[in-house]
Symmetry: C2
Subunit: 259 residues, 2 copies
């Protein structure tokens, strides 16, 4: 009944307290892991929900201190959103991809962020933030945030781990949200199987897998309970080291049939 | 160092032989699981790569027996594909979503299948099929295939499991492929967290998670090795029973900002 040796474990790290600006996530997560009777192992992938990175990095804006621009005011009427929230979204946006003008009551505003992520509201989020009128923004550079965490765990606990930072996004064509990797370090986010042979000796084609996104989704399964599990350990996946961060997952617009 | 009780295990089922038309997948998979020293537990989710379902259901076409239509001939020149392959793709297609006319050498043809899945080449696939000129098609009704497997495991082994059938697809905006659920039974593919309160007591909005796709991606992490692992057990995820199959994951075009 035991698992096989090549089983991957998706381990939720419960007991992480509310994160405040300036908090030391390496210390806090290490303590929570220890209290669960666990320790980190070399080769673990530690998956962080974007929200606690944003809080620790003080990526918090009080809407009461935001003055919406004339454009934000106009746009806010078209999508039925708070104009101050629209102002914050626009400050994170490089391009408006879609907005729902047919059904303004649904208030959907799909944009491209500075980091190249395409998501609703540029990842600006009001849930789980202290103070009724505060929202969080995505980390300024999620790959760098991940890199700092990898370095922090190395220096605090001597372990060689990889870090993935995730966000929850909608998708064209399919219902429901999934978690994707918006930052990573220590793991190559794409895994290239091209040129390898399948079990019939035929060369496989078109099989570059977005493994960082698949890991993000796996971790998302245990993160889903109202943000009570912002950190997940993915153990037993033999990933490839290296890569250029989650930026590797952003498709070049010229190669994107869907633009 | 042991996992926590709420850990999810992603268990690859190795040792599954090549599947032939008419094979009894319940029997074959049960035997492989037993040889690994495992047994199924109530509440397991058994994830099947589409390819072995298609083979068992004889969804195999010999290209040498295909006569391309005039339209297939024209289209095949535009996307630099074998016209017989294009004919097979068109037979599975309800709508051509995109084709790459800028770079025909890349030969991309993105279509909507009868099942509502949007993917390259309608899921028609030449890898891992016996006989050089054979290709597989997606199952006719993947939800029904999943339902039959759930029933089969119940009657053969007395276990209440859920089944997800997956395919590997590309996505707009993001590099790399991920695995998604094209069929499921015994599990509600969407999980609705709306109305639930977050840890600050705020009502969560817009959090309907596509858990079946997240499970497909988690399983994909151990399926990726040249199709040698076509079945994966996902154990320890407390899913919701019911739902209308993976068709629930197909977004109504009228609600889809991206159409």
């Amino acid at each position: 009944m035991a698992d096989t040796p090549d089983t991957i474990s998706i381990i939720p790290v419960r007991g992480i307290p509310e994160i405040m600006p300036g908090d030391d996530l390496v210390k806090i997560v290490s303590r929570a892991v220890k209290e669960l009777g666990l320790s980190f192992l070399d080769g673990d992938i530690v998956v962080f929900a974007q929200k606690i990175i944003s809080k620790a990095e003080n990526r918090i804006v009080k809407l009461s201190e935001v003055a919406p621009s004339p454009f934000a005011l106009t746009l806010s009427r078209e999508v039925s959103k708070d104009p101050r929230l629209v102002e914050v979204i626009l400050s994170e946006t490089t391009k408006i991809i879609k907005m729902d003008q047919r059904k303004p009551e649904k208030g959907r505003l799909i944009v491209e962020t500075r980091g190249g992520i395409i998501s609703a509201n540029a990842g600006v989020d009001a849930s789980n933030v202290s103070g009724g009128d505060s929202v969080t923004l995505l980390p300024v550079d999620s790959d760098l945030s991940a890199e700092n965490l990898v370095r922090g765990f190395k220096s605090a606990a001597g372990v060689e781990i990889a870090v993935i930072i995730t966000d929850t996004v909608g998708r064209p064509w399919r219902e429901g949200l999934v978690d994707i990797a918006i930052g990573c370090s220590g793991i190559r986010p794409l895994r290239d199987y091209r040129g390898r042979k399948d079990s019939k000796g035929l060369v496989l084609n078109a099989t570059v897998m977005a493994v960082a996104d698949e890991i993000a989704s796996a971790a998302g399964l245990v993160m889903e309970k109202a943000d009570s599990v912002p950190v997940v350990i993915v153990r037993g996946y033999g990933f490839e080291k290296g890569g250029g961060g989650a930026g590797d997952l952003i498709r070049n617009p010229e190669d994107d049939l869907f633009r």
